[in-house]
């Protein structure tokens, strides 16, 4: 099980790749043994995706050699890589939702008799594959109907149907629950025992320690270090290699004076909330909202913000009740929301960074309330970019070209352009690399110091324990506890968040 005994099968030797304006990879070399799981970690922009794309035949390296089984290979296209036994399972799965599991598994090489589809053979072979993975799945089921964890299994089975020897996973667990991650790891271990070569790319260091035998760290396109065994490696060590700094700096917490209540929720009820919610956020305080998936945290933020209509209850700001029927009421009062899914709910992808920042505040700068004030908008965008250290080549850069961390900062900049009294954040650091996370935490501390109420939803328990002054736990649509930082521990918070009869962490999102 140690994965240290197999011979090297996959190796990258001196791989370099550039794109106009950016050197994505330079001189990256490391090898992976048969029957082992090798993790590839690094911040956004470190070069992991580029390396995977070279492996899967999407790109050709500018320099260097890729070897499989000792032989140098060069893939002119992705089909060649698949034929060579390489499969990459991306975050955005490559499945056709309207087709069945069986059809997806054999897409492109369906069993047939002289060109006529052999359905019985298709079904039989598909069932065989799924059984081989230990999965009980109806192969006639339309893939789009399956939950994401099962769709991922189909993608893995698809790779196996092509006899993939090298299987790479790109951030496979971002949408999975703890139980589903365990199931995935069970399958990865089985694949490993079959002698395959597994490459595992992930942000989540706890997982690396659970599943990987060895790890390579990339930073800014360069190979930093490869650890052949994880026995004596610690998480702070890995973070240090990834970021070039020490983990104690990542949370960077220091206490602040706490003042009068700034945001008070009284008896609020609405869609997704099982009983009336009471919540207070004081000046200088960062309140974390923790709970399992489905606990009602996002729903609570949406009711406060006016996206969902409250059925009863009130929101008070600085002691005065604020009637909120829609987001613009909240915004005008000074309550703002950074949504959970940036891509779906936060950004305007083809519009510029400048416009994304000014989209709401522009009404405050406008001439006569309707004409755009270009000069003021430009000045505001420049100020936000400087203040929040937003990395973008220019203000007119399309928003979709920015990294996740910078996109989140733009959304924060959107709200800091206004006169903000309370900020609601929903999973603000999800999908963001370690360095950018630290910057966002510092921004949050700054807001709190300025007397702005900060209420943040997070599923990352270490993060919640690391940055919050108080942790409010939700369970099944209601608030069950409010725990000050000093009294909070991982076990005590988890116990509060889990349904009464569960004693393990089966249901938490890692």
């Amino acid at each position: 099980m140690s994965g240290r005994t197999g011979s090297e099968y996959l190796s990258f030797e001196g791989i370099a790749k550039s794109f106009p304006g950016v050197k994505a990879l330079s001189d990256v070399s490391f090898g992976v043994r048969e029957g082992s799981v090798h993790a590839l970690i690094g911040e956004n922009g470190a070069g992991k995706s580029t390396l995977l794309k070279i492996l899967s035949g999407v790109y050709k390296p500018d320099e260097g050699t890729l070897r499989l089984g000792g032989n140098a290979v060069s893939f002119p296209n992705t089909a060649a890589a698949i034929d060579a036994g390489v499969a990459v399972i991306y975050q955005e799965l490559n499945l056709v939702p309207h087709m069945s599991v069986a059809e997806n598994l054999f897409l492109g090489h369906m069993p047939n008799r002289a060109g006529v589809l052999d359905r019985r053979e298709l079904a039989a072979k598909s069932r065989e594959l799924m059984a081989g993975l230990g999965l009980d799945l109806r192969v006639e089921e339309k893939v789009g109907r399956l939950p994401i964890a099962e769709r991922q299994m189909v993608e893995i089975a698809k790779a196996l149907s092509r006899n993939a020897k090298v299987i790479a996973f790109d951030e496979p667990t971002s949408s999975l629950s703890s139980r589903e991650v365990t199931a995935l790891f069970r399958i990865i271990r089985r694949l490993k025992e079959e002698g395959r070569v597994i490459l595992y790319v992930s942000h989540r260091l706890e997982e690396i320690f659970k599943i990987a035998d060895s790890v390579t760290v990339l930073r800014d396109g360069r190979h930093v270090e490869t650890f052949d065994a994880l026995d004596n490696v610690s998480e702070p060590q890995l973070v240090n290699r990834m970021v070039g700094r020490n983990i104690e700096d990542i949370y960077n917490y220091s206490p602040r004076p706490v003042g009068e209540p700034v945001l008070e929720v009284k008896g609020l009820q609405g869609p997704g909330l099982a009983s009336p919610v009471d919540l207070t956020v004081r000046k200088g305080e960062i309140v974390g909202l923790f709970g399992l998936v489905g606990a009602g945290r996002t729903e609570l933020l949406r009711v406060i913000y006016g996206v969902e209509k409250p059925t009863q209850g009130e929101v008070h700001l600085l002691g005065k009740p604020v009637p909120i029927r829609r987001p613009s009421d909240a915004i005008k009062a000074g309550i703002v929301l950074c949504p959970e899914d940036r891509k779906k709910e936060g950004i305007f992808p083809v519009r510029s960074v400048e416009e994304n920042i000014n989209i709401s505040a522009r009404r405050l700068f406008s001439h006569l309330g309707f004409q755009i004030n270009n000069a003021a908008e430009r000045r505001n965008a420049e100020a936000q970019v400087a203040q929040l250290n937003i990395r973008t080549p220019s203000l007119s850069q399309e928003m979709r070209n920015l990294s996740g961390g910078n996109q989140q900062k733009v959304i924060l900049g959107r709200w800091l352009s206004e006169d903000v009294k309370a900020v609601l954040l929903d999973e603000p650091t999800r999908g963001i690399d370690v360095g950018a996370k630290s910057e966002i935490y510092n921004i949050m501390y700054g807001l709190a110091r300025d007397g702005i109420g900060v209420l943040t939803v997070s599923s990352d328990l270490p993060e919640v324990l690391g940055i919050c002054d108080r942790i409010v736990v939700m369970r099944l649509g209601r608030i069950v506890a409010s725990v000050p930082r000093a009294e909070a521990t991982e076990e005590s918070i988890l116990r509060l968040a889990l349904p009464a009869n569960s004693t393990d962490s089966e249901n938490t999102k890692p």
Binding site: R326, P339, V350, R351, R362, S366, F370, Q371
Partner: protein
Amino acid sequence: MMVIFVVLFVAASIWVENFATLNNMKTLLLQIVQVGIAACAMLFLLATGDFDLSPGAVVALSGVIAAVVTNRTGSVALGFAAGITAGSLVGLLNGVLVAKAGISAMIATLGTQQITRGLTFITSGGKAVGVSNEGFYWIGSYQLFGFLPIPVLVMGCFFAVFGYLLGRTIFGRNSLAIGGNAEAAKLAGINVARTRIIIFTLLGFCAAVAGIILASQMTSGQPNEGLGLELRVIAACVLGGVSLSGGIGTMMGTIVGVLIMGMLQDVMNLLRIETFWQYVVSGAVLLAAVLIDRLKQRRTA
């Protein structure tokens, strides 16, 4: 697309007889008035990611109602006001159906298109409604300074006003934002439903104005007019770079799109090409122009 327009224009001036004359330019511009005015609002509509199949029917409706009311009351002003109101109401209905009732824009406007067309036939008794009141013809026939037809002037004003709205006002930018990501627009505080309703109503209004001008030009309300207009308007917008999935569009581009389509039709008329072949050519040019544009974009992307 501007380049394509200039190239076609120069080519036409050189090779097509009578193209580059003041008279022909006037004819060309007069021919595109309906499409041009409707395109001003359709640009906004497509920008928000919506769709509207009713403008053609509204053109006919407003013309017929203007004619009928003018005949009944003897007042041209009242007739025009009635026509414009009727068209705007159809637009409002579209907006409410799509933004509030949540019906898909294509289906909703298909329904209102049929209803509007039907009501137009009923109101007109199935035939053209002639108007004897001379004031009715004024908009369609008067030429300012002796050479600038009023319809063209009106179209120019609409281009200017809507262009300003799209490019320089919050309302215009919000429309593009809604098309780019409606959910994000809502969370950013934009009143998405209200904006969409306003835009549908504006399109009804524009189509109504176009209809009244047309009726004035033809000195009668014609229930058969405007058939297929909406598709020509959408084609002009797409030619002008408006994305059918929303979020992208400019007034300059739309104007060029309208001009290209108008120029094409004008040239074919001058060359006496049969009407049926004109359909083929129009369709082919639309496809070619969009393909060229797509290829250009792919190279810069």
